[in-house]
């Protein structure tokens, strides 16, 4: 019963007044920056890093962790209410969440997001505590070939994010992959498709793209159809979930938690894959799958749970190996190093207060977020009753400031304008933006792992089928692709026959 003793020790650390206070501050700041478009946890944590110098290491890390998962909570709010995804994971939340808000079920969407996240966070915390070191071995057993196949599977299934034609949405995925190629080539340092623009050497900005194609394009579309927005501002709807909605959400939350817990462990891309991996799953197996595209609660419950579970389990590589899985974790390493602590496998023995205190504080933080966010849902939803003519300039200004503050560069603002116009064009042509964004995120990672796998295998492509993990992923991808294309082609043929006859 070491686990319980350790957890008890952890809670005794996490529940001291100072740590509780900083956990609360972290959660509040995180929620706030999650709500603001463009300003992400990486920028905020690096801004606040100096403040933590004066605090003990455990307190500092607890606060920074609070910002991190607080931002995940907050990010879903704008995605649901305003169709503004600030991060990769919230792109998926816009799909059903924003549709729910338009149907007057914004309150239910926000509630299920908060409750699902809390549940997933609780489960993931237990997983981190009980089997962190064991799961590290799983993460270590993933080689470049396996990552490539995982990313490939991710891209294939991302086509199901689209509501319309599968071929068109695969086209958008590939377009996104192509756009991901812009910038400095990781392997050779060469510039690709940058037209000599230094700002493009780190690639097209994700936030610019997301703000333009979702946020700005949505404003323009809403302005074009005054009738649609009056519906939106008129109907706030009941805040609570109905019994029916609750019953439908429960299995989705469970499945989402499972997907997120597992994928979050994989460094680089794992956490990004989790939310739409869960969306795909819900779309295929949930009872409400026929409602997808019109605001199905499963499409919010699953991905939101997955995303929160993944953000907890992505601490595993950091805590057990000392290897940061993403930019936020890299900042955490920095914060620890400044405090004079070397993250690594020995941290569990050398810094039990920190290790178990952080784990316990994750759960405490999740509870706090729930307590903070549930009452605020009413306030958020009231925002929707503000007349749209006041809403759209405000959204525009917040997007503009957020985009500018990413790099203090107006180039990002202009880039957002261009993506706004492009996003408008795409929505007129029924080309889906979500698959494009996923392709954009996963494409470069896929390229990186493909090239590395080939370098290591001395150019032998058999490595992708010889490794069991990789082979399994590719097999699933092939089946999924076949299953998706079949009905589509058949439908096309049927339509052609009907018209011919």
């Amino acid at each position: 019963m070491d686990l319980f003793a350790n957890l008890a020790h952890g809670f005794s650390v996490a529940l001291t007044f100072n740590n509780l206070l900083f956990c609360l501050i972290g959660c509040l700041i995180g929620t706030a920056i999650g709500v603001l478009p463009g300003i992400g946890p990486v920028a905020t944590i690096s801004l606040l890093l100096p403040i933590t110098f004066g605090q003990p290491a455990t307190t500092a890390i607890i606060m920074l962790a609070g910002i991190y998962y607080g931002a995940q909570y907050g990010g879903s709010t704008t995605a649901i209410l305003l169709n503004l995804p600030g991060e990769v994971s919230s792109v998926v939340t816009t799909l059903e969440g924003y549709k729910m808000a338009r149907r007057g079920r914004a309150g239910a969407a926000l509630t299920v997001a908060a409750l699902g996240s809390f549940f997933a966070g609780t489960v993931a915390t237990v997983v981190v505590a009980a089997s962190g070191p064991l799961l590290t071995q799983v993460a270590l057993s993933f080689g470049p070939a396996d990552y490539f196949s995982l990313m490939f599977l991710g891209l294939v299934i991302s086509a199901v994010l689209a509501q319309g034609s599968v071929v068109k949405s695969i086209g958008m995925v590939v377009l996104g992959v192509s756009m991901g190629m812009v910038g400095t080539d990781v392997q050779t340092g060469q510039q690709r498709f940058t037209f000599g623009i230094p700002e493009l050497s780190d690639g097209v900005g994700f936030v610019s793209m997301a703000m333009g194609m979702f946020g700005i394009a949505e404003i323009i579309l809403n302005l074009e159809r005054p009738e649609a927005r009056s519906v939106m501002s008129g109907k706030v709807g009941s805040l609570m979930m109905t019994r029916e909605e609750f019953r439908r959400a429960v299995p989705s939350v469970l499945r989402g938690t499972l997907v997120g817990t597992f994928l979050g462990i994989l460094p680089g891309g794992g956490a990004a894959l989790s939310s739409f991996g869960s969306y795909m799953m819900e779309r295929k197996v949930s009872k409400g799958r026929h409602e997808f595209g019109t605001g199905a609660i499963e499409g919010v419950a699953g991905p939101e749970s997955a995303n929160n579970a993944a953000s907890q389990t992505s601490f595993i590589p950091l805590l057990t190996l000392g290897i940061p899985a993403n930019a936020v974790m890299a900042l955490m390493v920095g914060a620890l190093i400044i405090q004079g602590i070397q993250p690594g496998p020995r941290m569990v023995e050398a810094q039990p207060d920190l290790f178990w205190g952080l784990i316990a504080s994750m759960w405490v933080g999740n509870l706090m977020l729930l307590v903070i966010n549930l009452p605020m849902i009413g306030m958020w939803v009231k925002l929707l009753s503000v007349p749209y003519r006041f809403m759209y300039p405000s959204i525009m200004i917040f997007c503009a400031i957020g985009v500018y503050s990413l790099q203090n560069n107006v180039f990002d603002v202009y880039q957002t304008v261009v993506f706004g116009i492009f996003g408008y064009l795409c929505s007129k042509l029924r080309l889906e933006a979500a698959p494009m964004l996923i392709g954009f995120v996963l494409g470069p990672m896929m390229e990186e792992h493909l090239r590395r796998a080939m370098l290591l295998s001395r150019g032998d492509p058999m490595v992708f089928v010889e490794r069991p993990i990789s082979a399994t992923m590719l097999a699933i991808a092939a089946i999924a692709l076949g299953a998706m294309l079949m009905p589509n082609l058949r439908k096309g043929k049927d339509a052609a026959l009907q018209e011919g006859g």
């Binding site: 509040l28 340092g189 050497s201 780190d202 930019a327 190093i337 400044i338 290591l456």
Partner: protein, 327 residues
Amino acid sequence: MSWALSRRTVLAGSVVAGTASRRALAQAGAWPSQPIRLVVPFAPGGTTDLVARLVAAGLQERLGVSVIVENRAGAGATVGSEAVARAAPDGYTLVMSNIASHAISPAVYRGRVRYDPVADFAHIALVVSNPTVWVANPRSGIRTLQDAAAKARGPGGLDVATSGAGSSNHLMVVRMGQLIGVELNHIPFRGAGPAMQAVIAGQVPMMSDSLPSSVAHIRQGSVVAVGMASAQRHPAFPDVPTFREQGFDLASDSWFGLSAPAGTPAAIVERLNRETRAFLGSAEVRARFSELGGTPGDLTAEGYGDFVRREVALWAPLVQAAGATAD
């Protein structure tokens, strides 16, 4: 907005309160009388960023005005450096100059970097230099550089991971290949973290890394330090022989320092040099840096200027040999 209130409280408690009185004091003198901007040409979270924030905090305390870190990443650290090269030389804009922005990238982005790493800057002080260390997976059987050379000459060659193409670590791999006489199979990663993971997991047997990102893993024994690419053995790792001791004439440190636009008054440069060295010289900072594997700098402003000039001359031909261009 209750969060706002609490953040204020925190700030007030730890940072703002201290500076308020000093700000009034500072207004009397000529320089500094307003906040100083310290541009870090990398995204937040990297080693340079962290060190910059430490230095900023130290200078803030000594100069009595706030020193604000601003991240302007991009194009191998040249975007931020160019912005500073063009800023007013009034001592209120500084850059964290480093081996990438001032020695390697100008060669990699030839013709597209619109600043001269030597002539367009008033170099102030070397902040820290980190030796390069080669580590190996314990199960790879590589214990010395001779083992590595033997493996490189054998069938299949030797894979060496680095934190990225065009980095000083990458160029080390190229130079080492030239010394051994066999091209090494360079496996670039996106940052030192993922590369280290691949080495620990055994996917890649070796890695060329700068010491701070390897320290913890060497101490734990999850990787073996094979050779230290510096002139002397590192005080924190007296058992690890240098490259020269093992018969390979290679020594390379990655470094970063403070620089201002050319034309910054000499008095300001001197003052900044003095304050930076005083901060770096304090026992606590020295201990912290050496724990991390770095060596705090202690050069005069002229000394740092000469140092940058030597580094530029050293790396340009190596970049060409490595074939790393940005065209």
